[in-house]
Symmetry: C2
Subunit: 247 residues, 2 copies
């Protein structure tokens, strides 16, 4: 049963993020290896990778344990991401977007507007598509800065659970399934792009900072609402989309 390291790492990452392992308990090499269907060596390599991503901790001779993330920690991570994206927006504005990127950003926003206006938002597919567009927008802004270490740093913080732009919580306890929040986010996006295209670096940075802050508030609120309404059975993985933020 030989398998590729990246695949195994991804499988283990999803498994950890899905909560298959109790936080604080050790991940035994043999157990992990047999579940993944690979050798202990490969399992160890994958755990080492996740340790460097911050999902696991490692104590010498005592193995790996899953790290525990608090809500406050996630909020902190989002604030860090907001600050980094603010830098990205500012640099993108200062250095100027390439025509290609500018066009792509416009298309992303067009598609997103389409989804919201065509009522496609009530269906799961529409919401998942919106998540993709959101992530694409944020990624494109970062790309526009042309700052490799910045890309790397943002990738780093986005690896902590729920901190990345793909981690969106749709509040199904609301009548509109969170459409109002999404509309607000979209408005932010429009203004951010406008600021960057007009070379208004400081304005772009301020807007994206506020965008991140609001998104963090919404996320926390939605979490609490969903917890409270746990009685209502919701299809898992649909209402609460908890995807890892890595491809």
């Amino acid at each position: 049963m030989s398998a590729n390291l990246d695949q195994v790492t991804q499988a283990l990452r999803e498994s950890v993020l899905a909560g298959d392992y109790e936080p604080g308990t050790a991940l035994r090499e043999v157990a992990v290896a047999s579940v993944l269907g690979v050798s202990r060596t490969l399992a160890r390599l994958a755990m080492g990778a996740l340790e460097r991503e911050g999902l696991l901790t490692h104590a010498p001779n005592r193995g790996f344990r899953v790290r525990l993330f608090t809500v406050d920690e996630i909020a902190d991570a989002i604030e860090v991401r907001g600050e980094l994206e603010a830098l990205a927006a500012r640099q993108a504005a200062e250095r100027g977007l390439s025509g290609k990127l500018s066009k792509r950003l416009g298309e992303i926003l067009d598609d997103a507007r389409d989804i919201m206006e065509r009522e496609a938002f009530n269906e799961i597919e529409g919401r998942i598509r919106w998540i993709e567009l959101n992530a694409a927008f944020h990624a494109a802004i970062v790309e526009g800065a042309g700052n490799t270490p910045l890309v790397s740093a943002i990738g780093h913080v986005c690896r902590i659970p729920m901190a990345g732009p793909k981690a969106i919580v749709f509040n199904t306890t609301l009548a509109d399934h969170g459409l109002a929040q999404v509309r607000a986010a979209h408005e932010d996006h429009e203004q951010i792009l406008d600021a960057i295209q007009n070379r208004q670096g400081t304005r772009a940075a301020a807007l994206i900072r506020e965008h991140a802050y609001r998104s963090s508030r919404h996320k926390r609120q939605n979490f609490e609402d969903m917890e409270r309404a746990r009685s209502t059975p919701v299809p898992p993985g649909l209402a609460l989309i908890r995807r890892p933020d890595v491809a």
Copy 2:
């Protein structure tokens, strides 16, 4: 010859940063392993670790190569670090420094002032000690924010060569060995601490941002001066201190 992974990783990291391997050329497993005096497995593990730190790249079935960093890339990394430290300073100011940390920061600055005033700066030991104090100051500010993801993110960017607070280039082509630059940096530190202690978050952030920017300018200038004056033989590792930024 069994050795510990962390030690091996550190040894390889220093070796790579010292330029023992030509950028772009592949690191053969057997060669690396034999130089480090360990098995191929351990060498591979260490290379994997350095890959996730960004020092090496990995192509499937084609091994690891050392990444090449341009001066611009380093400048970008320092700008990212500046932005993150600005967030740290702001949060430290907003959340308030603990009495312990505040005291420690004061002592660090006292020690640093001592070194500069006592002429100890002309000796290598004094300059090395100043580097340590500088790094300690920056680390303490970050600690003061009480933001774990922020600590992690800063640690991440500081791993790229020359980007961290320990990477200081003393310009030996100047008569004062760069003392004027160090004095300026120290003044920045004093004001930054003052701002944080007085809960002036925005001021602290602005100061540290400017501090990072100036440090980046100095670093680039010093590099160019040193390159130009390469004819003058300088003791390697002393004038140009190129330590990795990890403990």
